[in-house]
């Protein structure tokens, strides 16, 4: 049972919902990312979704794209990120799921990636451009290492693929709230609550909802019908906005606290 599975078990007992915070590793720099992971954990974030920057992310909107570009300009690499996670583990046991495009993982070598991620203390992987059909090797490796593999439901997922996705997923299932890329939105689809309920009925695994969520009200409404929410771009924006402030980490932690219910 990975740290993510344990977290959901614990939340269930407490009748609470997960709050998952996304940040880009290396934006503004890896040292600060480490501080952010620790501070967000202390602020009550249940799981950290840590983005490994990629030059050409297909599922990400302008906010996360820009944060990846900033991080890559600083020379962030997969080994440096894993090293940072290893350092963080001395201070924080908040579950960490790595989110990235498939190419950095494939290029690093799937076997080596899982091995090194495990050694660093990573708990899960989320790869939006890797459907379960193409993920057989990675799933097998992750299972052995007890690293959760998070796959996606989207509003367009066909009924015949639901079981396959659910079976391939451990930790939780990422429900994409809308057809589109990541990025804060003022309005989410009007039928979102209904579609989440439908997704929940289709699987026994925890279903967490992400894409477009940026306000406390959205967090509240969506948490009520799901097992948790994922907030990304709104936090990344806050990091960028405060990047020149000496107390940026505290400000971002406070911002996230204000989002949580």
């Amino acid at each position: 049972m990975s740290r993510i599975d344990k977290k959901f078990k614990e939340l269930k007992q407490l009748k609470k919902k997960a709050f998952i915070a996304f940040i880009s590793a290396g934006d503004p720099d890896l040292r600060t990312t480490a501080d952010l992971v620790i501070a967000l954990g202390n602020a009550g974030v249940d799981i950290i979704e840590l983005g490994i920057p990629f030059s050409d992310p297909l599922a990400d909107g302008p906010t996360i794209q820009a944060s990846f570009e900033r991080a890559l300009k600083k020379g962030v690499t997969v080994p440096k990120i894993l090293q940072m996670v290893g350092q963080v583990r001395k201070f924080s046991q908040t579950p960490i799921a790595l989110m990235t495009s498939y190419n950095p993982v494939f290029h690093y070598g799937e076997e080596k990636f899982i091995k090194d991620a495990k050694a660093a203390g990573v708990d899960g992987i989320i790869i939006p451009d890797l459907p379960p059909e193409e993920a057989k090797t990675l799933i097998a490796l992750a299972r052995k290492a007890d690293i959760s593999t998070v796959f996606f439901f989207s509003p367009t997922t066909a009924a015949h693929r639901v079981k396959r996705i659910s079976d391939a997923s451990t930790g939780f299932i990422y429900y994409v709230s809308l057809t589109g890329v990541t990025g804060a939105r003022t309005a989410l689809p009007p039928d979102l609550i209904e579609t989440i309920k439908k997704a929940k009925r289709a699987t026994k695994k925890p279903v967490c909802v992400g894409f477009g969520i940026s306000t406390r009200e959205q967090v509240k409404a969506i948490s009520a019908v799901s097992d948790g929410v994922i907030v990304g771009s709104a936090i990344v924006k806050e990091i960028e906005k405060n990047s020149s402030q000496p107390d940026m980490v505290d400000r971002v932690a406070q911002f996230v606290k204000n989002l949580m219910i």
Partner: protein, 392 residues
Amino acid sequence: MSLPDKFGHFGEFGGKYVPETLMAVLEELETTFTKARHDKKFKDEFAHYLKEYAGRPTNLYLAKRLSSHFKHLKVYLKREDLLHTGAHKINNTLGQIILAKRMGKTRIIAETGAGQHGVATATAAALFGLKCEIYMGEEDIHRQSLNVFRMKLMGAKVVPVTSGSKTLKDAMNEAIRDWVTNVNDTFYIIGSVAGPHPYPLMVREFQSVIGLEARKQFVMKEKKLPDYLVACVGGGSNAMGLFHAFFNDKKVKIVGVEAAGHGLASGQHSAAVCAGETGVLHGSKSKLLQTADGQIKIAHSIAAGLDYPGVGPEHSYYKSIGRADYIGVTDKEAIEGLKLLSQSEGIIPALETSHAIGYLSKLDAKVKGKASVIVCLSGRGDKDVNTMKDLI
């Protein structure tokens, strides 16, 4: 077994590496395409537009004066440049737009580098009365202003892409992001044998008319098969279009010519098969220019249509099984090819195509005795005259 397999794999290459939101529409597209390719009504409609509208069949022209420039080569040109809109791209866009209609999609999007695919898409969209938006890198918009104007004249909206290297790769990123967002009403016409399954298969099918015609025409004229096929490879649609019909003709040697830019050693090129490593970009696994950390490298070529860090997965497969050779031709060598064809035959090729012509002197140096060659003359050079003015 005929490739690709059910999930779009050519050996280890190809596949479907896309966000979950697109999986359903890819399945829908695959179903529509699979039905259409065996449907007489679709085949007749496609053939009708290729003949009556685009101007097929294109000639297989024996380029005598060009050939006389070489010691060993007898060069035939497959004249895709004579098609409506001036390049092979129209073959594919007509096929895909008929599918879009069948699927009830009302909006067309496409990426473009040189603008040839953008123009061919805008053309097909105008012909079928569909709304059309073309994603094009800002850098390419400057390089190919004539094609930008052509697209606009036909009612398409050209969306400048300012992210990344501002070229074809980034235009494709943005087109995919648009598609993820507007997946319900939008059809994405990919311009090459790239992208997720079923695109590499589908685009190959729509372009395979090039090789089917060329094979028949060559046999009529020469009573045998050619010794060599030569085509430029960016994503690789004109090349695959020519090569596919000859796949089982093992004696026919196949050469894909990649853009070596300032030279393969310089690191500034677009030669994914020659110098890339296996990776995943834009929905499929193939050879890819990438850094030690798996980030995508910025490609370079004088030809906007070849300026792409990846390549269609089936080309990586051809290379892996030794069915084709892939060779780099530099910017400079391409310009020499352009001049040679213009001055020996009165045919101005596109800068992309000029790479294939530029390769012929290398081939001539290699060949012993006489060899017959079919070169895919994939596009005409009118769009490049502004670039050429500064170079020649």
